[in-house]
């Protein structure tokens, strides 16, 4: 600890003022060169104003500065090669870029022989329970037998809330009491599903902040419990994320993936004015596809993800 208090005990490597200047200048020069290059390329074919406008819509949609800049760099590059002439064409090209980022992650859902286990995870208040209810209805409408599992034994009345959804979607619910062991409920649910040949088990878990180590470890434990009963389970671990989430969403996705092995995103509350652009940053960095979007409080308000429409809305067109 002593060492870290004031840095290493070893003599710090001292840079001369000359070195630092050189560094500073080369940095500025790099920036300048890049900027000039960009401007030359653009004044020839597209207008800088459009580009700035696009940058602003991406940032306003919560893509984050890093992702936005990277996307725009690629865009300039492509714009130059494809001899883009006007703003409308540039905009179209950007849409294609974003769509490509979202689509390349899209993996088909694995076909399974036994019951398919789907875990819903996420921070507090994103809409896990509501999504569980709606998702049950989605699978029911596909003619599948569905079992709901109330593994949020922590939040007050979470079980009662899921119970109402199970009635609305007409599926069975496995539950225990508030304060019970979530892993035990999960174990029961998977066992019942195996014995009675359910097609799908949808597991609602308690909301937790990704920074709480103990609670994150619990998710890992839950995952291992299902594996004990079904080797390749859980087949889907969906991170339920609120579309209003800002840059913290990336960190959420990272840490939930680490502990719970997230396989996809459900973007909820997209019926508001938030665009959910953080999903693009997540797709780029973590290769996680968006599976569903939530667009309302009714049971039918969970839709399969449409990358085309989503990209359009990010650019302020939808």
């Amino acid at each position: 600890m002593i060492q870290t208090l004031f840095g290493s005990l070893d003599e710090p490597e001292k840079k001369s003022i000359f070195d630092r200047m050189k560094q500073a200048v080369s940095r500025t020069r790099e920036n300048l060169e890049q900027r000039i290059e960009g401007i030359i390329a653009l004044t020839r074919e597209v207008d800088e104003a459009t580009l700035e406008e696009l940058e602003q819509s991406l940032i306003a949609s919560d893509l984050g500065v890093t992702t936005t800049e990277e996307i725009l760099t690629t865009l300039r590059d492509h714009a130059k090669r494809q001899r883009i002439r006007d703003g409308a064409e540039l905009r179209q090209l950007l849409k294609t870029e974003i769509k490509a980022i979202l689509d390349q992650q899209d993996r088909p859902i694995r076909a399974v022989s036994g019951p398919q286990i789907i875990l819903l995870v996420g921070v507090n208040g994103t809409g896990k329970t509501t999504t569980a209810g709606k998702l049950a209805a989605v699978y029911r409408s596909q003619g599948k037998s569905v079992l709901l599992c109330a593994a949020d034994t922590f939040r007050a009345a979470a079980i009662e809330q899921l119970e109402v959804w199970s009635q609305r979607s007409g599926v069975e619910l496995i539950k225990s009491k508030q304060g019970g062991d979530p892993t035990a409920v999960l174990f029961d649910a998977v066992q019942v599903a195996k014995k009675r040949n359910f097609d799908v088990v949808i597991v609602d878990t308690a909301g937790r902040l990704h920074t709480k180590g103990g609670l994150m470890a619990e998710l890992d434990k839950m995952r291992r419990i299902t594996q004990r009963l079904i080797v390749d389970a859980p087949h889907e671990v969906l991170l339920v994320m609120d579309a209003t989430t800002g840059q913290n969403g990336l960190q959420q996705a990272r840490l939930f993936t680490e502990s719970a092995g997230v396989t996809g995103i459900v973007l909820t509350k997209l019926d508001g004015t938030a665009k959910g652009g953080i999903a693009v940053a997540i797709a780029r960095e973590l290769n996680l596809p968006v599976r569903y979007v939530g667009v309302g409080e009714k049971i039918e308000d969970l839709l399969p993800f449409d990358s085309e429409a989503f990209a359009e809305s990010l650019l302020g067109g939808g």
Partner: protein, 459 residues
């Protein structure tokens, strides 16, 4: 990625060093870094633009002070700007002159209204009030049940009401609210917390309902409950809620996570209303009044170093610290006597843990916050005891402390020879390091001056 902010600023400012004045040209890099940092912290784009412009105007033309590095100087401007925006003081909670005080909880779905209602009730109870809770969320399944469980867990009064099979809708909402208010009066509760259904700001019907609730209840406080993780959209929802309801304050929830909480700035900017409380955990007690300075440090990813410096300057004997710094950095080095003085001064600042937690998570202090939990506070006591057991001569001439003297000192202080050895070794290293540290940044120098004694505390 967030962790690099302070580093980035330092780097951007490096080019400033050695120049006499901050100009349009030499501050460019720094302003870009500030813009990115604020955006990464989820401060709204338009708010960022305005802030950066203010900062630019304030910074340009300023002489680069000798006492602070240019980086610190600009950071101070940024900090002051953010503080001005947030309002410097902790906001007050309004009570009605004639009870009951009615508090209306408003916000989007999942922002934490029900949990916060319970926490607010617990906070009021602690302040000697008798709050009553009521949920008029007749829409979300089990929402009213949730508040009932929350109320029971903190032993607060709850008006449950009877739905009487009435269909969910505004009529039912208004009836429950009216009944609850009457019940609060009748049962002698002085505050009524009305938990409402989460709603989108663009939902006309539900926003109308909210307005009618306001007219009906005439609340003293209309709190907007907002998730600290909210991104750019925070301004739109807050603005609309404010337009419809004239909010009186904001509660920022889920602050126990690692979100920067830039939404606080955005919401404050569009509503003009102060953040009154923050939610910091799942327990009913995890709820505190909001201190603007803390979130500014958080948004900038700087720890709470300014508070630390201020506290140090208030608490510590400035002259003593300066003398120590001068001595430590000069050829002679500091004595164990000086070291003990420093140690005593630092202990006045608070626990070592709390000090470490205020340090920025980057630069020379990287990793220190994580280590704070492993610190043994008793080390302070032991080190002081060891030095106390030395003779004045030993304290001023450490080189005379022989093996026999070490044994005596260990016995006298109730420690072991190993511990005495360790302290002497660390002291020697520290002296050496201080002497070579004179060339570091001004901030580092100041910190070392005031906190020199912290070395030797760890293990």
């Amino acid at each position: 990625m967030f962790e690099n902010l302070s580093e980035k600023l330092q780097r951007a400012f490096k080019s400033l060093r050695g120049q006499g004045i901050i100009t349009e040209e030499n501050i460019g890099d720094a302003l870009r870094e500030i813009r990115v940092a604020l955006l990464e912290a989820d401060v709204n784009l338009n708010v960022v633009k305005e802030l950066v412009e203010h900062i630019r105007i304030k910074a340009i033309g300023q002489e680069v002070l000798t006492a602070l590095s240019p980086a610190e100087q600009v950071i101070k401007i940024v900090r002051d700007e953010l503080m001005t925006l947030l309002g410097k003081d902790t906001a007050r909670f309004q009570f009605a002159s004639r009870p009951p005080t009615v508090i209306l909880m408003a916000g989007l779905q999942g922002s934490g209204k029900t949990t916060t209602s319970g926490k607010l009730a617990a906070w009021l109870q602690k302040g000697g009030h008798r709050p009553m809770l009521v949920s008029v969320d007749v829409y979300r399944p089990a929402a009213r049940e949730q508040l009932k469980v929350v109320a029971a867990s903190i032993k607060a009064s709850l008006y449950e009401g009877d739905l009487k099979g009435e269909a969910p809708g505004s009529a039912l909402v208004e009836r429950l609210a009216k009944e609850a208010r009457r019940e609060a009066v009748n049962s002698g509760c002085d505050t009524l917390i009305v938990d409402t259904a989460g709603r989108l700001h663009i939902d006309e019907d539900l926003m109308d309902e909210m307005q009618r609730l306001k007219t009906l209840l005439n609340p003293q406080e209309i709190l907007f409950i907002a998730d600290a993780m909210t991104g750019q959209d925070a301004v739109r929802s807050a603005e609309e809620f404010h337009k419809r309801l004239a909010l009186t304050g904001v509660v920022l929830t889920k602050m126990d996570g690692d979100a920067r909480g830039g939404a606080a700035l955005s919401i404050r900017q569009v509503t003009g209303q102060p953040v009154k409380f923050i939610g910091t955990g799942e327990k009913p007690t995890a709820f505190e009044p909001f201190h603007p300075d803390r979130i500014v440090g958080r948004i900038l990813g700087m720890g709470d170093i300014m508070t630390l410096i201020e506290r140090a300057e208030e608490t510590l004997d400035k002259k003593k610290s300066e003398d120590f710094a001068k001595k430590a950095l000069s050829g002679d080095g500091f004595s164990l006597e000086d070291f003990r003085d420093q140690l005593r001064q630092i202990r006045k600042l608070g626990s070592l843990q709390s000090i470490m937690k205020m340090l920025p998570s980057v630069g020379p202090f990287q990793g220190i916050q994580q280590m704070a939990d492993q610190v043994d506070e008793k080390q302070f006591v032991r080190v002081e005891a060891i030095i106390n057991s030395m003779t004045p001569k030993e304290r001023n001439h450490h080189e005379i402390i022989s093996g026999n003297r070490r044994k005596r000192i260990a016995r006298g202080s109730g420690t072991s020879v190993q511990e005495v050895n360790q302290l002497l070794r660390q002291y020697a290293q520290m002296r050496k390091m201080f002497k070579t540290a004179g060339k570091g940044g001004a901030l580092q120098r100041r910190l070392m001056g005031t906190m020199g004694g912290m070395r030797g505390m760890g293990r």
